[in-house]
């Protein structure tokens, strides 16, 4: 039951750009157990999408895996040749794309595209593949008559359901959901998230949900890894992250998302911008924006320490965590940074 | 102003675009100073130093590109011929752009009956085969530079019109147009002050292409024998060479004028492609 499906250890992914080496992912560690749903959350550019896509080795030309391991059921994917990775794609690890708008090829029917995925990995006949598509459509709630329709004939929400059906086609061990609801309106978003969760549990797949939206995390994930500037700031079970967050960034993130429940309070945003990943500052990367930074924060990068079972943080100021939590809830704490 | 600077930056980066500009400017300079650069009168028969008629002489120090069957200096013909080419190219590029852009703007913006009418008109013009039409018109009206220009301009606005219209259709939906309308801007103002600046890069793509097409068309018409009898043009030089069956004996009569046409037309295409990168950001190198 607690079998680890995916274990990422100290993963480093660097991009070779004209202006220098960009360290998009710099020493990231997380893992996903069977049937578990891990949320990778952080601002745009924090490296969460890069980290997720690297599992499928779907990286652009100028990116390379500079170090670390990606262990899928014990096999290190970074050491495999591309051909092997191709074999594993979709069969072991599949993907639900961010915007289904453009994720489906407009010149083929949706049925065709799912059959294509199936036939790329299993020697079934076309008829058998089509039957599977029928079954998948039933699962996600699309009328089987629509198998021969083209993507442009579907609405946004329906298209996303098609991509979900496609992702489930080969009963993968792991599904990567890359901001699957960003392009949808709120109501459809809730439906889709619920559906994804149900299906995941029914099939027994694990999932990595990449998002910048804390509310999505709270609805669907069991575990969370909060990423900042290419590193993991804090990770742990969802309850721990939400109720006993330790990292200032996590605290700041929670402030920035509204909640219908609880008292009405003003949204507090984290001032400043993420650091330059080509020439990052020394010490903790969050320091320039952190209201609680002290001298040691500029000198050394904090190491990951275990705060409680499964809950880890990378911050020098753990000992003062209670005070920090209290201050983080106040607006002045953050606006002080802006003034500096 | 910022847009202008970005404009030049992109042009600079495109190596072919820069080469195109350089070639075009060189030809313009040659055309302007042609009478001073050409060593001889292009239509005058020349004589060799020993007094004999300089018929079909290969390239030499006296005659850089050799001579024709009539003893005329090919180099001078190429130099002077640049004037006709550039006049045709520049005038028709400007005229067809002016017509095409306005048709596209009005058609795209107003829509409805005006659009229908203008697009039907454009469709009909699209049905006319370009070169055959120019040949026939020039043959009927009489071979002259003006008639050739007229024939070219009558047809070549069609591509610009269609392209600009479809751009306007997309731009029309954009928020800033809505904002302009809400703030009380009149239609003409919206068209010419808000929409037009945005379609300029795309229009320039076709302006440069029109330059090239016009030069090729004039050369073709002259090659077939319908060039202006009073003017020297590259096409006419090639016509003479073909008619004199000189392809086999006098390569120097054939190659330089053709190369001149090729280079000038090529520069137009290079510039056009450079503008395409400005007009369509997705094409730029990452």
């Amino acid at each position: 039951m607690n079998e680890t499906i995916l274990s990422v250890k100290d993963l480093k992914i660097y991009y070779a750009t004209k202006r220098g080496l960009l360290k998009a992912v710099d020493g990231v560690t997380f893992s996903v157990a069977k049937s578990q749903n891990l949320g990778l959350v952080g601002e745009s550019g924090c490296g969460k999408t890069t980290a997720a896509k690297s599992i499928l080795r779907l990286l652009p030309e100028n990116a390379s895996i500079a170090g670390g391991e990606i262990l899928l059921k014990g096999r290190d994917l970074t050491k495999l040749p591309l051909e092997e990775v191709r074999r594993l794609r979709w069969q072991e690890v599949s993907m639900i794309p961010q915007s289904a708008m453009n994720a489906l090829d407009p010149v083929y029917t949706v049925g065709e595209q799912i059959v294509e995925a199936i036939k790329a990995h299993s020697p079934v006949t076309r008829k058998e593949a089509m039957e599977r598509v029928n079954y998948l459509f039933d699962l996600v709630g699309i009328s089987p008559e629509r198998i021969n329709d083209y993507p442009h004939q579907f609405s946004g929400g329906m298209k996303q359901r098609v991509t979900i059906a496609m992702a489930l086609a080969l009963n993968p061990s792991l599904i990567l959901a890359d901001e699957p609801t960003t392009a949808l309106d709120v109501i459809v978003q809730a439906q889709i998230l619920k559906r994804i969760r149900e299906l995941q549990e029914a099939i027994g797949s694990s999932m990595i949900m990449v998002t910048h939206d804390m509310s999505v995390i709270s609805e669907t994930c069991d575990h969370v890894a909060v990423m900042y500037a290419g590193k993991v700031a804090e990770s742990g079970p969802i309850k721990a992250i939400f109720e006993e967050a330790c990292h200032p960034y996590t605290l700041g993130l929670r402030n920035a998302f509204p909640s219908i429940f609880g008292e009405a309070k003003r949204l507090i945003s984290i001032p400043g911008t993420p650091p330059n990943l080509i020439s990052p500052p020394t010490g903790c990367l969050f320091r320039p924006r952190c209201p609680f930074a002290v001298e040691i924060c500029s000198a050394r990068e904090p190491a990951m320490v275990e705060v409680s079972s499964g809950h880890r943080v990378a911050c020098h100021r753990i000992d003062k965590i209670d005070e920090i939590r209290e201050m983080a809830a106040m607006e002045e704490t953050w606006s002080r940074i802006q003034a500096v | 102003m910022n847009a202008l600077r970005e404009h030049f930056e992109i042009l600079m980066k495109d190596r072919l675009g820069m080469i195109g500009m350089a070639i075009l400017i060189s030809f313009v300079l040659i055309a302007i100073f042609a009478p001073y650069i050409a060593p001889y009168d292009p239509m005058e028969s020349q004589y060799r130093p020993d007094g004999s008629f300089a018929r079909m002489d290969p390239p030499s120090r006296e005659f850089i590109f050799g001579t024709t069957r009539m003893g005329r200096d090919v180099f001078s013909q190429v130099i002077i011929g640049s004037r006709v080419a550039l006049i045709v190219g520049i005038v028709s590029a400007i005229a067809s752009t002016l017509i095409g852009v306005n048709v596209g703007l009005i058609s795209g913006y107003y829509g409805g009956r005006i659009d229908n009418f203008l697009m039907r008109l454009t469709d009909i013009v699209y049905g006319v085969p370009f070169l055959p039409f120019v040949i026939i018109l020039v043959a009927i009206l009489g071979p002259s530079l003006g008639n050739t220009l007229l024939a070219i301009i009558l047809i070549s606005w069609r591509t610009t019109a269609r392209v600009i219209r479809s751009q306007v259709l997309t731009l029309k939906q954009r928020v800033f147009i809505e904002a302009a309308r809400v703030s009380g801007a009149g239609n003409l103002r919206i068209i010419y002050r808000h929409i037009m600046p945005n379609i300029v890069p795309m229009a320039l793509v076709y302006t440069a292409m029109n330059l090239s097409t016009a030069i090729l068309t004039e050369a073709s018409v002259s090659f077939l024998g319908y060039g202006d009898p009073l003017l020297v043009s590259w096409g006419k030089t090639l016509h003479m060479a073909y008619v004199a069956q000189a392809i086999y004996d006098a390569w120097w009569w054939v190659v330089p004028p053709g190369l001149a046409i090729t280079l000038l037309v090529l520069s137009g295409f290079f510039i056009s492609r450079a503008y395409e990168e400005i007009a369509n950001p997705r094409l730029r190198e990452r």
């Binding site: 090829d105 049925g111 089509m130 | 085969p129 026939i136 392809i247 054939v254 004028p257 037309v265």
Partner: protein, 346 residues
């Protein structure tokens, strides 16, 4: 009713879902109607064009060398003694019956003369366009793939070079090198002098014919190739940025399948659109290629007719070229509708 699950893909016509087939037919009819209108306007244009000749307008139609009685017969036949509007009606009805008049030069009905020439032109133009598009599409895909490399820049410049070189000049140079200097190919014409022609088949499917076809077809193809090449390249570059390409890779498809089934298939759409525009352009090229290579087609005949003041032939050839362009425009339009399932035909 059980729905047959058919492999659709390209065959949007095969799927009976929705009313696209019905709408497509109404679109075809609409476009045919438009085509007719364009033809009408074109023929009217020709009508007026050939009557604006400075000098005696009648000389356009009546050969001044004919004896007076014969001239009067022709005048009656074409109604040239009648008012303009009546002439127009006669002209149009003649046109519809395919009655193009009698050639001044050949003294034969125009249709007989240009009948065979249409095929000559069609084959040459067809061969040239086929080569240009086949090589262009493949080349464009490869160039997009190796984008930024020296080969790609060189390829682009080379294609543009041949596009910029006047096709008649390229023809002259090609003749100089491959016919005169190397002697590999004949110097023009469609057939060797004295060849026996036993049947229509013989006329066009023989080694001699093909031997004569090579140089003009390749010359024309070189001239045309830049457009499909560059359009394909641009289209591929844009398509490669699309999300569904990444999805295709994520599904574990081989790079080859991603490129061909997804990238190229989508890139074909703008290429087909450009085929539409190419036809009008190719006709102009044909006139020049046929002249330089002395290929007996419509283009060369038109130029010769103008030079000889053989107006019936000139009129007819121009008209035929117009029909060809308009018709092929329509075909390309419809082809696009079949290839792109998103096209809706309102």
């Amino acid at each position: 009713m059980a729905r047959r699950v058919t492999p659709a893909g390209l065959g949007s016509l095969r799927s009976w879902k929705g009313d696209k087939p019905a709408r497509m037919w109404s679109y075809i009819i609409n476009r045919l109607f438009q085509m007719l209108v364009t033809l009408l306007v074109l023929s009217t244009l020709i009508f007026f064009l050939f009557r604006i000749l400075p000098g005696d307008p009648l000389s356009m139609f009546i050969d001044a060398a004919l004896p007076v009685e014969a001239q009067e017969v022709v005048m009656k036949q074409f109604g040239l003694d009648k008012p303009l509007w009546q002439q127009y009606i006669t002209y149009m009805s003649n046109l519809f019956r395919g009655e193009f008049g009698v050639s001044f030069h050949y003294r034969q009905p125009v249709i007989e003369i240009i009948g065979e020439k249409v095929w000559s032109t069609a084959i040459l133009m067809g061969a040239a366009l086929l080569i240009a598009f086949a090589v262009g599409v493949l080349g464009g895909a490869i160039m997009a793939w190796i984008r930024g490399s020296k080969i790609e820049i060189f390829g682009t410049a080379l294609a543009l070079f041949f596009r910029s070189a006047p096709v008649f000049w390229t023809g002259m140079v090609v003749l100089l090198i491959f016919s005169y200097r190397l002697g590999w190919f004949p110097a023009g014409g469609m057939r060797s002098v004295g060849t026996e022609v036993l049947s229509n088949w013989d006329k066009f499917v023989s080694l001699d014919f093909l031997h004569h076809l090579v140089l003009p077809a390749l010359t024309a193809a070189l001239y045309y190739i830049a457009t499909p090449l560059l359009v394909m390249r641009t289209a591929m570059i844009e398509v490669m940025n699309d999300d569904f390409i990444e999805m295709a890779r994520a599904k574990g498809l081989s790079e080859w399948k991603v490129l061909t089934r997804h990238a190229m298939r989508n890139s074909l759409l703008p290429v087909v659109t450009v085929l539409c525009l190419m036809v009008g352009f190719a006709i102009g090229g044909q006139v020049l290629v046929e002249t330089v290579f002395r290929w007996p087609g419509l283009g060369r005949e038109m130029v010769a007719a103008i030079q000889r003041n053989d107006y019936p032939v000139a009129q007819a050839t121009f008209f035929l070229m117009g029909i060809l362009v308009i018709f092929l425009n329509l075909v390309a339009d419809l082809l696009y509708g079949i290839l792109d399932p998103r096209v809706t035909y309102d």
